[in-house]
Structure formats: structure tokens, C-alpha cells
């Protein structure tokens, strides 16, 4: 499988502030790639560089095989971007907005009408076409932003916190459309999000901390590396739990014990079968991964 994005030694500073420090990573064609980090971690800077909207200080960035410095036009034809906030024209109708953006890619006339019809059906905004953008709700506007990004059939879709503030229905629709496009057209998706359950669906995840890569891998690899397993014990007394000799969190009608991994959980259960009569084991979630990696909450602060 070829790489859709190749970044090597990317650096970018704003004055004395180093926003991105020596980033090196790749995104494979067709994958859903999640790029996580706190505000100010360098996500938007990296996205703006990939989009050719911002110049880098050093390093190389290749998108769809095209170097962003030497072949910017090829890069721009290959990418579609959904920004955090809408960048479309509020006073104009949805149709006028899409028409002006499609023209940027040379899509006009019958070709434009056909593409808008297709996207309007896919994203369910046929009835919104003649309405001014500023009169639409947040969810409706988001659908138009996505349509704008997809107008020219990009090979790489960049979603910068696309679901922040959206209602569950619109979030579901958005992810359904993205999944359909990945399946039908092999679309590669580069996602930044604050919702860890969205990141958990990714094929590959990078966690950025203060401009550098703090962790990377598949969600499972990250969970195995950065979180433990949670065992929830039901129908046991506090005394029984104390016999395990591990710190336990008391829940409303259960106790929760955290162990380093599944092997440790198995060992514990086999050693105390009389206590483990009614229990469940859950792997740590992406929230735990993020908190552990960025070192803000667990296990002594500055990460493992």
C-alpha cells in the first residue's frame, strides 16, 4: 500500500515558539488517520503545511506523491479540507457558495450541477440549496462544509475537528458519509478530533504533545502500551477485595481494580478464583491513552 502523506523532519516556528518539532510520519492510502493533541500541540500548523496554506521552516512533506513546495498545484487538486469553523460565505446561498468553490477546480456548468446533486443526496441537503448559509444551523452548515471539501473528488480528506459541537444525528451522518467514501472510493482521511471514541475507530493514531510525536500506533497498540486493563468485580465484599492486595476503586455496587495488562488480569483471576465469581475485564480507552501519553493525569505526571 502506498503512502498518501510522507512527512520527514518537519519543523515550524512562530518567532521563539516552536509549534512543530521534527515531525516524521506517514499516512497510508485509504486509511483513517487520527492526529490527536491538546490545543496548541501543533495539529493545525501541521494541517496548514500539508494544505500548502503555510510555509514550513524545514523538512519535507509529500502529499499523494507530490512535494508541497515544488508541486503545490498537484497537492491542492488532491486534497479536500474541512476546517474547524466554516470558511464559506455566510450571505450567499448554499448553491452560490458551492458554485464559486467548484469553479476553483474548474468544475462549472453541467458538471457542477451533477456533482452538487450527487453530494446533496449523499449529505441530505437538497432542500437547503437556495437558503443563505448564515441562516443554517451548525449541523446543516457542517454538511455544506463537507460537500465543499468533496466537490472535486479529493483523494485525501482533511477533517480538522469536524464534529465539534455537532448534534449526534449529524455526527452519525458525517461518519456514515466518510465511511461510505472510504469504502467506495478509497478515500484517505486525516482527522483531528477531541472525541476519543472517534479516534478509537482510526487505523492509525498519532498523539502530538508540544509539537512532537508523543505516541503512535493503532488504537489497540496504544491501549496496550499506555493503559492497563480494568477489572470490575461484582458481588464481593470490601474484605474480599482487600485480600487481593491491590488498590481498588469502590463503585456504587462493585469494585474496580486496574492491572497493567490482560496477562496480569488472567494471573490475578487464576490466583483468586473464589473472589472472581462475577466480573468483567475492559481494556483502557483512548481517553486513558491520551491522558497517560500527555502526562497530565496518571502515574506520576510526565508519562512513562
Amino acid at each position: 500500500m502506498t503512502n498518501m502523506i510522507d512527512i520527514c523532519g518537519l519543523c515550524k516556528s512562530y518567532g521563539d515558539v516552536q509549534a512543530v518539532r521534527d515531525l516524521t510520519f506517514s499516512v497510508r492510502e485509504g486509511e483513517l488517520f487520527a492526529f490527536l493533541g491538546e490545543n496548541g500541540a501543533g495539529k493545525s500548523t501541521t494541517i496548514n503545511i500539508i494544505c500548502t496554506a503555510l510555509a514550513k521552516d524545514s523538512g519535507t512533506v509529500t502529499v499523494c506523491g507530490a512535494d508541497i513546495d515544488r508541486e503545490a498545484e498537484r497537492v491542492r487538486k488532491a486534497i479536500g479540507v474541512v476546517y474547524q469553523g466554516s470558511r464559506l460565505d455566510g450571505p450567499l446561498s448554499v448553491w452560490d457558495n458551492l458554485e464559486s468553490r467548484a469553479a476553483l477546480y474548474g468544475i462549472t456548468g453541467a458538471e457542477f450541477r451533477a456533482r452538487v446533486a450527487e453530494l446533496a443526496e449523499r449529505l441530505d441537503f437538497q432542500e437547503l440549496l437556495r437558503r443563505p448559509l448564515r441562516k443554517l444551523s451548525g449541523g446543516q452548515r457542517r454538511r455544506i462544509d463537507i460537500a465543499r471539501a468533496l466537490l472535486h473528488r479529493p483523494r485525501l480528506l482533511i477533517l480538522d475537528e469536524p464534529t465539534t459541537g455537532l448534534d449526534p444525528q449529524t455526527r452519525k451522518l458525517l461518519w456514515q458519509v466518510v465511511e461510505d467514501l472510504r469504502r467506495e472510493e478509497g478515500l484517505t482521511v486525516f482527522l483531528t478530533t477531541h472525541y476519543m471514541e472517534e479516534a478509537a475507530q482510526a487505523d492509525s493514531v498519532i498523539i502530538l504533545d508540544r509539537g512532537s510525536i508523543a505516541a503512535q500506533g493503532t488504537p489497540l497498540e496504544l491501549k496496550n502500551a499506555w493503559t492497563g486493563d480494568h477489572i470490575t468485580l461484582y458481588n464481593v465484599s470490601a474484605g474480599e477485595v482487600a485480600r487481593l492486595g491491590l488498590p481498588a476503586e469502590e463503585l456504587r455496587d462493585a469494585f474496580r481494580i486496574t492491572v497493567p495488562n490482560t496477562a496480569a488480569a488472567t494471573e490475578l483471576i487464576l490466583a483468586h478464583p473464589e473472589i472472581f465469581r462475577d466480573y468483567e475485564i475492559i481494556k483502557g480507552c483512548m481517553d486513558d491513552v491520551f491522558l497517560n501519553v500527555t502526562g497530565r493525569n496518571l502515574e506520576g505526571g510526565e508519562g512513562k
Binding site: 496548514n48 494544505c51 500548502t52 496554506a53 503555510l54 510555509a55 498545484e73 491542492r76 487538486k77 486534497i79 479540507v81 476546517y83 469553523g85 470558511r87 464559506l88 460565505d89 450571505p91 450567499l92 452560490d96 458554485e99 464559486s100 468553490r101 469553479a103 476553483l104 477546480y105 474548474g106 462549472t108 456548468g109 465543499r148 472535486h152
Partner: protein, 296 residues
């Protein structure tokens, strides 16, 4: 070409959808005309009466025609530039709202985007300035019409040239702005200052010699001189035909900035066109180059 025309349509739609902006731009020349007539009409008229030989029988209509010529030339000379600054807000607004980034991450050429901004501002400013010219012609027709057909056509050409100049100047200046506050500040400065430095509010001939020399280097001066010449030369010729001597006619033309001196030499009309046209072409080139060389 299709991309360009769609972008042009987008820019113009955005201007006309903003009703406040459109009507403010449209009403400004009308307000200026009312203010001029109310506060400066009599001052201009008295000045003419004082400077004309007492023995010369000047009909009231001709005096009104002279005053109207001076007033409408001042309004048009100022409006063509200030309205251009007012209309040329979209380029900055797109930057402030992040729309410019959305446009620039597409494969469209930077020059196509910049020329679309220029042409849309030009078209909008022309529409408003032609409306202002219509209003001014209406006022001149009521006060005293002494414009020949040729002068009327030349005056309209001057408006086009000044709008081209004003749009190019505002495009270069606005290129460096990135917020709506900045564009408001620049608009205010231009609206209040340009009328003085181009000789629209006060004839340049009434300034000190040093200031006159400095102002003679500014291209707007020649735009005002062209507009004033074509708005007033019919009425001045009528004065001459009534018996005003050649030297005094020439003095009036100098006093009214219908003749501009550059270090003692009178600048001929074709040279004024050349200066204004040349500066406009250079400004457009600078604007396109700025956009082309703009760092990401």
C-alpha cells in the same frame, strides 16, 4: 475564464448582499453634494464674483454654472477614490474570516483571485460613481449647464480613469491589511485626507509654493485637474466669449487647477492622462506581483 467569471460574480454578489455597504457607498456622493451646495456654494460664488472684473456682465446662470462645475468636479474627483476604498473591503474581509485560506488551498492561480478582487471592486465602484455622476449632471443641469457633449464624454472617461486609479491604489494598500478594523481605519483616513491632497476641497493654487510642489508629484492631482477642466472649461469659455481677457481667463484656469504647473511648466492634458494612466498600470502590476510573490 469560467473560474474568473464565477469568482467575479461571487465578489459582486457579496458586495450587493451587504445592503448597508452598498447604500452607504451610494449615498456618500449624494451627501457630499448636499453639503457642498449648502456650505460651499456661496463661498465659491463670492470668490468668482470678487475675482471677475466688475465691468464684465456675467449672467447669474453662468455664475451658477461655474460654481456647479467646481462643485461636481470636487465631488467626482474625491468619490472615485474614496468609494473605491469603501468597495474594496472583500479582499481584507476574506483574510479576516479565513475564507482566503479556503480559496488558496485550491489549485486556482493567485493572479486569478487577485484580478477577480480588482475587477469586482472596479465594477462596483464604477456603478456607484456613474450614479454619482448622474446626480452631479442633474445638479449642473438645474444650476447652469455649460458642458459640451465632448466635455461630458471626457468627464465620464475621467471618472473611469480615476476609478481605475482608486481601485488599484486601494488594492495595493489593502493587500497589507488583514482585519476589518484596519480597513475601517484606512477608509476613514483616505476619506478625510484624500480630498485635500488631490486639490478637490481646496484648489492646489491656494496652497503654499512648497506644498504645491509636493502635491504636484501625486498622481491624484492630475485626476482632479482633468475632472475640473472638463467640468468647468465650457463655463470658462463662455466667460471668455463675454469679453474676459485672455490673461484673466488663463488666471482663472490656474486658480481653479485647470492648469497644473510642475516646477514652473504647465502640464499638458495628454501628459496628465499619461501620468494617471501610467501610475494606474504600475499600481495594478505591483498588486498582481504582490499576490504572486506572497509567502504562504
Amino acid at each position: 475564464m469560467k473560474t474568473f467569471s464565477v469568482l467575479l460574480r461571487r465578489n459582486m454578489r457579496l458586495f450587493f448582499r451587504d445592503k448597508g455597504m452598498f447604500f452607504t457607498s451610494l449615498i456618500t456622493p449624494a451627501i457630499l453634494l448636499v453639503l457642498y451646495v449648502t456650505f460651499l456654494g456661496d463661498v465659491y460664488r463670492d470668490s468668482f464674483v470678487m475675482n471677475l472684473p466688475a465691468a464684465l456682465p456675467v449672467p447669474e446662470k453662468l455664475l451658477d454654472g461655474l460654481v456647479a462645475g467646481q462643485l461636481i468636479s470636487s465631488i467626482l474627483a474625491v468619490s472615485c477614490v474614496t468609494v473605491a476604498f469603501c468597495s474594496n473591503f472583500l479582499m481584507v474581509q476574506d483574510k479576516a474570516l479565513g475564507t482566503a485560506t479556503d480559496l488558496r488551498v485550491s489549485p486556482v492561480r493567485a493572479s486569478t483571485l487577485s484580478v477577480a478582487y480588482y475587477v469586482s471592486t472596479l465594477a462596483v465602484t464604477l456603478i456607484i460613481c456613474f450614479c454619482a455622476a448622474g446626480l452631479c449632471f442633474g445638479y449642473a443641469a438645474v444650476a447652469g449647464w455649460y458642458l459640451s457633449l465632448a466635455d461630458t464624454v471626457r468627464l465620464l472617461c475621467d471618472v473611469v480613469l480615476l476609478v481605475l486609479f482608486g481601485t488599484a491604489l486601494s488594492s495595493v494598500i489593502n493587500f497589507f491589511l488583514s482585519s476589518q478594523g484596519q480597513i475601517s481605519a484606512v477608509g476613514t483616513i483616505v476619506s478625510s485626507g484624500y480630498g485635500f491632497i488631490c486639490g478637490a476641497y481646496m484648489p492646489i493654487s491656494s496652497f503654499g509654493e512648497g506644498l504645491q510642489k509636493v502635491i504636484s508629484f501625486l498622481p491624484g492631482t492630475y485626476g482632479t485637474a482633468l475632472v475640473r477642466t472638463h467640468a468647468m472649461q465650457g463655463a470658462v469659455a463662455e466667460l471668455h466669449s463675454l469679453g474676459l481677457p485672455e490673461t484673466e481667463t488663463e488666471q482663472i484656469m490656474l486658480a481653479m487647477d485647470m492648469r497644473i504647473r510642475f516646477f514652473g511648466n504647465t502640464v499638458p492634458e495628454p501628459v496628465m492622462y499619461l501620468i494617471l494612466g501610467g501610475v494606474t498600470a504600475v499600481l495594478i502590476l505591483v498588486y498582481v506581483l504582490l499576490n504572486k510573490l506572497k509567502k504562504r
